[in-house]
Symmetry: C2
Subunit: 129 residues, 2 copies
């Protein structure tokens, strides 16, 4: 995306200090809260870009599967992924139950994408070309 495109998105409208906390909170506490939230905002931007890249990869899988009439879901693959993510979560001190819920959340979106690609592909006259 060019610098010109970026300027059309009013990212500067984001208020990193937006809050429903009323004025009775100690300013030092608010400062600490806003400092941590600044890090959370950075992690979130990283997550969005990483997820976008992950979906680009699963999109490629979707087209490959559609082109070769392979099923949208792959239970053995999903099982292996979930087991691995649980182990990685333990290493990273992340709740493995949450990691599993998270992967299931992503996979259900991916399978939905694959089904859309598969239906689009089936409607093309030269789908099996």
């Amino acid at each position: 995306m060019s610098i010109e495109d970026q300027t059309t998105i009013p990212s500067e409208q984001f208020d990193p200090h937006a809050s429903s906390l009323n004025g009775s909170v100690d300013p030092a506490v608010l400062d600490e809260l806003f400092a941590i939230r600044g890090s959370i905002d950075n992690f979130d931007a990283t997550l969005v870009y990483l997820l976008a890249e992950r979906f680009k990869a699963t999109q490629r899988v979707g087209y490959l599967k559609a082109r070769h009439q392979l099923p949208a879901s792959d239970p053995n693959r999903e099982k292996a992924q979930i087991e691995r993510l649980r182990r990685l979560a333990i290493e990273a001190h992340l709740d493995p139950v949450f990691a599993e819920k998270f992967l299931n959340f992503i996979i259900s979106e991916v399978i939905h994408h694959h089904q859309v690609i598969s239906e689009e592909h089936a409607q093309e006259p030269d789908a099996r070309a």
Copy 2:
């Protein structure tokens, strides 16, 4: 985590070629599928470590809120976060509806953590020390 700790986790049991696809698939197609899946596996490990770091930050927010009796949720903050993430998603070519669902999924987990911290804190005899 030390190298010794890492060797106790049987990460080598993960089979990156685990699949329910039967033997009738063209080996060249499988090779392409496994190559893309290798990237997906790398993105997933990065996601797990990033999420772990994000939860460390929200955990700090949770303790700060518990210490100062601030509410677990902050609707104006959440609204600003969701609007920002939708904009970032558009920049990253990620479905903004998915990005919003994703943030809501994470936030509901975070609020649950905050409530647990708040309850633990309330049970401590020196909670307001």
